[in-house]
């Protein structure tokens, strides 16, 4: 029916538009979200329909942007605060982690902070060490925050819509290299369930677990492996909090092998969390160590060659899987 070819960017815009039509307490607050339409174009033209009262351009004051969203969320609005780059989290972690994440708990459940912090991260544009990071590890380590990282246009749409109905703060991290990806999406289809992983490809030899852009890298690897008669199962987590371990465990218990893939730096990151959990939960089923593929433990260099070499590639996934299977 409403199946259309749509980009990840447009799916996000559509989600905002539909949510703003459905709920007039939804407001968008951030730098260049109004007239400019967002640094990556996600809010383009929304100001025409909703006006400057709901597409609120701010000064370059990230700590206050998040702090204002917290206060607004406590008093009747449902703000979508936009952080132009996830790299700016360092400026707002106090408002996010000490305030938004803890208010419900510290106040004994009196009130929540129903806000969404939309931002984008990752490599792909030679934007350098301060504009290319994957910092979901900090968020995942902060009790009280939900965390969504969609890989597809359909998930971008449904997860953002769902985020805008939750009673708690959601960090919603898009990937800068996915905005222009086009897909056929049925917007009327059953919505992506919140907090559930999806099996993107079924297989028997090994389980690949990942999220966000690495889903597509892993898919490419899985296709290459299929040509070599290696059948891998690919799980896209979609949300990191909640974390759907049930889907992961079921798969690994069947395949006996797992590789986890994350673009963020290896040490202390999401890949480690996944490997630790799989190791705990699937110990008796594992035929090989759970292998983590992740970003190198370095700042992201500007040089395009170095940048692309600093994160996992399809070739690396293929090689690693083959070695794990001794093939």
């Amino acid at each position: 029916m409403a199946e259309t070819e749509i980009t990840y960017r447009d799916a996000l815009r559509q989600a905002l538009q539909d949510a703003m039509r459905a709920d007039d307490t939804v407001v968008v607050i951030g730098e260049e979200v109004g007239a400019y339409g967002g640094a990556y174009g996600v809010t383009r033209d929304l100001i025409t329909e909703f006006g400057a009262g709901r597409l609120i351009d701010t000064p370059i004051s990230e700590p206050a942007i998040v702090g204002v969203a917290v206060g607004a969320a406590m008093t009747g609005l449902r703000p979508v605060a936009e952080l132009m780059y996830v790299d700016f989290l360092g400026l707002v972690m106090d408002q996010l982690a000490n305030q938004a994440a803890k208010i419900r708990y510290m106040f004994g459940g009196q009130i929540g902070v129903p806000m969404v912090l939309r931002t984008q991260g990752g490599t792909g544009r030679s934007a350098g060490a301060q504009h290319s990071q994957s910092l979901e590890g900090w968020i995942m380590h902060t009790p009280g925050l939900r965390l969504a990282m969609p890989a597809t246009a359909a998930d971008a749409y449904h997860l953002l819509r769902h985020s805008l109905t939750l009673p708690d703060p959601v960090v919603f991290i898009e990937h800068k290299s996915l905005y222009t990806r086009k897909e056929r999406v049925d917007l009327d289809a059953e919505p992506t369930p919140w907090g559930k992983a999806v099996v993107r490809r079924q297989g028997n030899d090994l389980t690949l677990v990942t999220y966000s852009r690495m889903v597509h890298v892993a898919l490419a690897a899985a296709e290459q492996l299929a040509k070599q008669d290696i059948s891998v199962e690919l799980i896209d987590l979609r949300t990191l909090n909640p974390l759907d371990m049930a889907t992961v465990i079921a798969s690994v218990e069947r395949t006996g092998r797992a590789v986890v893939v994350s673009e963020g730096p290896l040490t202390g990151g999401v890949a480690s969390e996944l490997a630790a959990r799989i190791g705990e939960e699937c110990f008796d089923y594992l035929q090989a160590p759970v292998i983590r593929l992740a970003g190198e433990d370095i700042p992201i260099p500007v040089s395009p060659d170095l940048e692309s070499a600093s994160i996992p590639t399809a070739a690396l996934i293929v090689a690693t899987v083959r070695r794990m299977l001794r093939r």
Binding site: T25, V27, G53, I56, T58, P59, S61, P63, A64, V66, G67, V68, A69, V70, G71, A72, A73, M74, T75, G76, L77, P79, D94, Q95, N98, Q99, I103, R104, Y105, M106, F107, G108, G109, Q110, I111, G112, P114, P143, G144, R146, L166, P167, D168, G195, P242, E280, E281
Partner: protein, 348 residues
């Protein structure tokens, strides 16, 4: 630098001084009982910050607020919350970490809050609650209510950048917001002149486009008049800022014996006492006689004594409550360590 409304106070017949005195006395006595709670080992921890000496600020500004208004405070916020109508027993129970407290024992002195009274929260991060009132102001403007939101903070927060970002946004968006700096001369052991070169704080706010005033916190009526004028302005969409000068009578927290200041400085500072000044004024203006005030004070003392007994007798929160309220009702909760271990080690 003169308050926007510098006219003399209202005709004496209309004075709110009796009410302001009562509020201030309740704060003073409550804080004395907090000190006692700590001394008796009944408080949750030692991070208790008394607002003795600052009653004029709390009472004066609070009286300029309406029931629908909201506010956030810093860590030294007991007095402000009381002045906005808090139940001292539930406050004390929270300070004692008990289930009967405002936050069921999870927040304590530094994170007390009550949505029913518009208290959007005390904060243990200096400056942390300031932008929240800007967010509240945004809500009120958008939702078309008549409320304002007030941020209370110390002189220490005048050196936190977030304050300026917040004031700038409030001015840019014409929000119904009031920023109130309670300048008690000290941030922990640092006197304000060792924290900044310029204490003309109103100039800072004006430079961002706010209406601004400085006022002496010993004079609760002056505080109230100034706050009223700025609150009226804020309700009309012109955000305001006021700095209230006073003196922190005691140490920063319960452990701090103030070795960094002289006995003489303390003695002089404590002469700036808004409570006794108001009492003297009530007597000298014939608004009350000493016996009536003594009776009032004694009643307050009894009320506040009872808060300690209430707290001592109250239950600690049940262990299982630890996992409640991380997320909203019905949402998936974090898995307790013990459940995880039971599952993983079940067949080990």
């Amino acid at each position: 630098m003169t308050p926007p409304d510098a006219t003399p106070g209202p005709a004496r017949a209309n004075t709110r001084l009796p009410e302001l005195y009562r509020t201030m006395r309740r704060i003073r006595t409550f804080e004395e009982r907090v000190a006692e709670l700590y001394a008796r080992g009944l408080s949750a921890g030692s991070m208790l910050h008394l607002s003795i000496g600052e009653e004029g600020a709390a009472a004066g500004v609070a009286a300029a607020m309406r029931p629908e208004d909201s506010f956030t405070t810093h860590h030294r916020g007991h007095g402000i919350f009381l002045a906005r109508g808090a139940d001292p027993a539930r406050m004390m129970a929270e300070i004692g970490g008990k289930e009967a407290g405002y936050c069921r024992g999870k927040g304590g002195s530094m994170h007390i809050a009550d949505m029913a009274l518009g208290h959007l929260g005390a904060n243990a991060i200096v400056g942390g609650g300031i932008p929240h009132v800007v967010g509240a102001g945004l809500s009120y403007k958008r939702l078309g209510t008549d409320a304002i939101s007030v941020a209370f903070f110390g002189d220490g927060a005048m050196q936190q950048g977030l304050l300026y970002e917040s004031m700038n946004m409030a001015a840019l968006w014409d929000l119904p917001v009031l920023f109130v700096c309670i300048n008690n001369q000290y941030g922990m052991g640092t006197r304000i002149d060792r924290a900044t070169r310029s204490i003309e704080f109103d100039r800072r706010a004006e430079a961002f486009g706010l209406a601004a005033a400085m006022v002496d916190g010993e004079d609760v009526e002056a505080v109230h008049r100034t706050a009223q004028a700025l609150a009226d302005g804020a309700r009309g969409g012109k955000p305001g800022f006021m700095a209230i000068s006073c003196f922190r009578f005691f140490g920063h927290g319960r452990m701090d014996k103030s070795p960094y200041r002289t006995a003489e400085e303390e003695a002089t500072g404590r002469k700036r006492d808004p409570v006794s000044r108001a009492r003297d004024a009530l007597l000298s203006q014939g608004l009350n006689d000493a016996a009536a005030l003594d009776a009032l004070d004694a009643g307050i003392a009894r009320e506040m004594d009872a808060t300690i007994d209430f707290t001592a007798a109250a239950d600690a929160p049940a262990g299982a409550s630890m996992f409640r309220d991380v997320f909203g009702p019905g949402e998936p909760e974090p898995e307790p360590l013990q459940s995880r271990l039971d599952r993983i080690l079940a067949d080990a």
